[in-house]
Structure formats: structure tokens, C-alpha cells
């Protein structure tokens, strides 16, 4: 076996960089001055980033994305963990039905709820608010399913010992299940955060106010308001694109293995 052959590793790295070349090169040109880019030379500057933040509100969009994705993750994971604990540890009338309904949401295409959710939020006056961006994204059937499977793997004797000592179910959840499920909760939190960070169609319909734009909406609009292809300010657009990619990219590099494990556990029977 070619285990850890340095030549093969270098070749794999090269192939990987080549595969990612369009994105890597877009980051590169976001750091170039206009003159250097069109003259085909290299001259570094952070000017494009400064313009994205000062002339176009990208600092605000970054903050909005962090807030929305953060709250969706916090709420989504809390709700999923509570439900997963109930599904894993309690037998109750309707329990199987509710669990089935939760898992079935994975098969329901999200476009069917687009117009109704827009109308629901309009009715309660939550369009053009943070809450309107957050609430429809909170329920996550996959996280509930995944955490339930994980919790079932935790020995029941631990719960029972705690109940003997007079603990309430909430205490068992908080003191035993949550600490022991930390790896599963972490990979689901990451998955939910990334999904929400990259979500596009819902923020596009739910928000018209510029100061509530997420990075995805801000970037798409920045690219689209350019009058014609030949006149697009690619350096500015690529700086904005890099701001949009970077947080997830860094997070991914830190925790790649957890994330991949989380995704495959749910997918393979």
C-alpha cells in the first residue's frame, strides 16, 4: 500500500488545489489592486475589502449572517435535542407517529412551504425582521433523527441511576444526556450553522430591507446590480465573495472530520 508516500501526498495536494483553483484564484484576485489585475501583475491591497465594508454594507451583512445562523443553530439544536431525548428514552402514545412525522420532513421538498410561510409571516408582521429570517429555519428533522440515534447508544443504566437518586427528566437530560452527546451535538450544530449560513431562497423572499440582508443576499445583489458583464467590478465582487466563504471555510478546516462523520452517519443505512 502507498501509505503516506510523500510523493503521492504532494500529487494529491496538487490535484486538490487544481480542483479548488477557481475559488482559490477568486480569493487571490480579491487581494489585487485594479491596475495590477488588468495589467496581469501582482500587487496586494486590502482596498477591495475596505470598499465592500464602507461603500457597500458588507460589515452589516456579516453581522446579520452571524446573528441569524447563530440563533437558528441555538434554537434548532435545543429543540432537536429535547425531542431526540423524548424519542430515545420514552415510550408514549403517539410517539412513533410523531417521530415518523419528524423524519418524514426530510422527504418534503421545502419549496412547497415557500409561499405559505411568506403569507404566514406577513400575517403576523414578521416579514423584514430577524425573527422572520430565523423562525421558519428552526425545525430540523435531520438533527432530531441523528441525535435520537446517538442518544439510544448511551447506556440506559446511567439515566436509571439518576432517577433513583430523585433526578427529574429535565435534570437527566441536562446533566447526563447532553454532556455525553457532546460530539453528536457539536457536529449537528456545525451542520445546521453551515446550512443556514448558505441558505438563499428564504432570505431572498423574506427580507426586502437592505439593512437586514445576509451575506448571501448582499453578494448576489452586488453581483447583479453591476450594469453589464464587461463592467462588473470583479475585484470588489470577489472580496465580498471571500467574506461570504471564509467563516465556513475556516470552520470546515478546523472540524472537517466531525462534520463528515455527522453527514455519513445519517446517510448510510
Amino acid at each position: 500500500m502507498n501509505r503516506d508516500n510523500p510523493f503521492l501526498s504532494a500529487a494529491a495536494l496538487l490535484a486538490g488545489l487544481l480542483f479548488l483553483f477557481p475559488v482559490l484564484y477568486s480569493i487571490w484576485i480579491s487581494l489585487q489592486t485594479v491596475d495590477a489585475y488588468y495589467a496581469g501583475k501582482a500587487s496586494f491591497t486590502l482596498d477591495n475589502y475596505l470598499r465592500a465594508v464602507t461603500e457597500f454594507n458588507f460589515g452589516r451583512y456579516l453581522l446579520n449572517s452571524l446573528l441569524v445562523s447563530g440563533f437558528v443553530t441555538l434554537l434548532g439544536i435545543s429543540l432537536a435535542t429535547m425531542a431526540a431525548f423524548a424519542f430515545a428514552r420514552f415510550t408514549f402514545p403517539g410517539g412513533n407517529f410523531l417521530f415518523g412525522a419528524t423524519v418524514a420532513t426530510l422527504m418534503i421538498p421545502s419549496h412547497i412551504s415557500l409561499i405559505p410561510n411568506y403569507l404566514t409571516l406577513a400575517k403576523v408582521g414578521l416579514l423584514d425582521t430577524y425573527a422572520g429570517l430565523i423562525l421558519p429555519a428552526v425545525s430540523n428533522g435531520f438533527a432530531a433523527f441523528f441525535l435520537r440515534q446517538y442518544i439510544r447508544g448511551i447506556p440506559r443504566s446511567l439515566d436509571e441511576a439518576a432517577y433513583m437518586d430523585g433526578a427529574t427528566p429535565l435534570k437527566v437530560l441536562w446533566r447526563i444526556i447532553v454532556p455525553l452527546s457532546r460530539p453528536a451535538i457539536a457536529s449537528m450544530a456545525l451542520y445546521v450553522f453551515m446550512t443556514e449560513w448558505n441558505s438563499y431562497i428564504w432570505p431572498l423572499v423574506a427580507v426586502g430591507r437592505e439593512d437586514l440582508f445576509t451575506l448571501q443576499i448582499g453578494l448576489a445583489r452586488l453581483y447583479r446590480i453591476n450594469p453589464g458583464e464587461g463592467l462588473i467590478d470583479w475585484l470588489l465582487v470577489m472580496a465580498a465573495s471571500t467574506v461570504t466563504i471564509l467563516p465556513v471555510l475556516l470552520g470546515f478546516l478546523l472540524v472537517e472530520r466531525h462534520l463528515v462523520r455527522g453527514i455519513t452517519l445519517g446517510a448510510v443505512k
Binding site: F19, A101, S139, N198, L219, G230, S241, L249
Partner: protein, 290 residues
């Protein structure tokens, strides 16, 4: 003190409320709205029976979108899966090179689709684009990748495949790792060539394990929106006007809530039918015990 028998209901209630309000009730709302005429502003929303469906089914836009979406699915799903099984069979071994390549392949699938759309719009831009710059170096003429109705859909398929490939690879690797080693040993004893083993052992055995991938990819293909909205807006001349893009245009540009809902219902039924069809086919596949 909370009663023990009430506890599970209290625990599942918050999630159930969100699922009901934002996932299940909307299905019925869509169905109801699809029989009404409404532009979101008028105070009345009269019942018009099947008129929205009739209008949709007699419009060339819908049939164009169906054709484009089906074409996208038929071309991109087998391409993705073939590339992924092939790559996975090489990357399944645990070694530094395969870890590096897996990471690189997987990265686009967690990267913002909007960013990817913007970056590839530049890659395929007619002026100053990367691909045309390479063509110019080779002395070839500029190609209008995203403005040519015959090419734009291919560009979207390429970009979508590039983005999703790593995800498929990761799933297939997990599937491959579940294949019992004895089968490979037996094939080796029988003198199976590498390609033969791949075709006779790997492919048939990995299919049922990950039967979920083809289903998910087809369903995804029918829901592609972001990349279309960013790169082509459905153009040129409707050549990339996929179904969800059409839904977005009808519902949120024209604000024809009734017709948009009718389209959402049609798409829902179509996807349910595809899932059903798939389960019929997959159900007959042989499963193995390890």
C-alpha cells in the same frame, strides 16, 4: 412536579409546533391557495377551481421548465454518481493522500452556493473570464458560455457537479467501507482484474447501501434554484428556467399566489411520484448481510 407521563409530550412539543406551522400546514395552505385567485394585495381571494392548473398546464413556460429540469436531472445525476463511485473507490483507503483529496473534493459542498455561482460566472464570463482566457491562449475564439442557450445549461450542470461531487464521494466511501472484505478476497482468489472487481463487486454492492443518493440527487435536481438565480436568472431565452426558478418568478415577481401555489403542488406531486417509483425499483434490489 411534572408528571412522568406528560414529560415526553412537553419535550417534543416545541419541535412539533415548528414542524406543524412551517412544514405540514403549508402543504395544505398551498393546496387551498392553488384553487384561488390572489395577487397578495386584493382583499378577496375567490375560489376558481382548477383554473390555475389549466393555465399552468397550457402555458409553454411550464413545459419548458419541466423539459429543462428533467434534462438537468437526466444529465447531471448519472454523471455525479459515476464520478463519485469511481473517485470513492480510489479514495476509500486511509492514507494521507486520500485524506487530502477527500477534503478538497468535499469543500465545495459546504461552500456558499451564491459565492460559487459568482465565482463561476467569472470563470465562464465572455470577457476577462478564466476559460476564455485559456481559449485565447490556444488561439481559439471567445465562447459566450452563459449567453448561449445551447451551452448555459451545461455550464450549470458542470458547476453543480463540481459543487456536489465531494458530498457524494463521502457517502460512497462510507458505503464502500461497509462492504465485507471477504468478497474482495474471494474475487482476488478467482483472479479478478481491478476493473472487473469494481464492476462486479463494488458497484452492485454499493448501490443498495447508498440507495438514498440517487433519490436525493434527483430530488435535489428538481429543487435547484440558487445557482440559476445567481448565474442565469433562467435565461438565456428560458434555456435554464428550472422549476423552482419558475415558481419564484410566478410567486414572488408576478405575485400570482394562486398559480405559484398550483405549481408548488404539481412539483410536490411529481417529486412524491419519483420517490415512489424509486422505492419500487430499489425494493427489488438484492440486499446482502455482512
Amino acid at each position: 412536579m411534572m408528571s412522568r407521563s406528560l414529560t415526553p409530550y412537553v419535550l417534543v412539543a416545541p419541535l412539533m409546533i415548528f414542524i406543524a406551522v412551517f412544514t405540514y400546514i403549508p402543504i395544505f395552505m398551498s393546496l387551498d391557495l392553488s384553487f384561488r385567485q390572489w395577487n397578495f394585495l386584493s382583499p378577496e381571494m375567490p375560489f376558481v377551481g382548477l383554473r390555475n392548473y389549466e393555465q399552468l398546464l397550457s402555458s409553454s413556460d411550464l413545459w419548458n421548465s419541466l423539459r429543462v429540469t428533467a434534462l438537468f436531472a437526466v444529465l447531471s445525476v448519472p454523471l455525479r454518481l459515476a464520478l463519485a463511485v469511481f473517485a470513492a473507490s480510489y479514495l476509500v483507503r486511509e492514507s494521507a493522500p486520500s485524506r487530502i483529496l477527500r477534503g478538497a473534493l468535499f469543500l465545495p459542498s459546504v461552500t456558499s452556493t451564491v459565492s460559487i455561482g459568482v465565482v463561476f460566472s467569472w470563470v465562464f464570463a465572455t470577457d476577462y473570464g478564466m476559460v476564455n482566457a485559456v481559449l485565447a491562449h490556444l488561439g481559439l475564439p471567445k465562447v459566450q458560455w452563459l449567453q448561449d442557450p445551447h451551452l448555459a445549461l451545461w455550464v450549470l450542470i458542470f458547476v453543480n457537479t463540481w459543487k456536489q461531487l465531494g458530498y457524494d464521494v463521502v457517502i460512497y466511501i462510507a458505503g464502500l467501507q461497509a462492504i465485507p472484505q471477504d468478497l474482495y478476497d474471494a474475487a482476488a482468489i478467482d483472479g479478478g482484474k481491478r476493473l472487473q472487481v469494481f464492476r462486479r463487486v463494488t458497484v452492485p454492492l454499493v448501490m443498495p447501501t447508498t440507495y438514498f443518493l440517487p433519490v436525493i440527487s434527483v430530488i435535489e435536481a428538481f429543487q435547484v434554484f440558487t445557482i440559476v438565480n445567481v448565474m442565469t436568472k433562467g435565461g438565456p431565452a428560458g434555456a435554464t428556467d428550472m422549476l423552482v426558478n419558475l415558481l419564484f418568478e410566478i410567486g414572488f415577481v408576478l405575485f400570482d399566489i394562486g398559480r405559484g401555489s398550483a405549481l408548488a403542488v404539481l412539483l410536490f406531486v411529481l417529486l412524491a411520484f419519483l420517490a415512489f417509483l424509486k422505492s419500487m425499483i430499489v425494493g427489488r434490489k438484492v440486499h446482502y448481510e455482512s
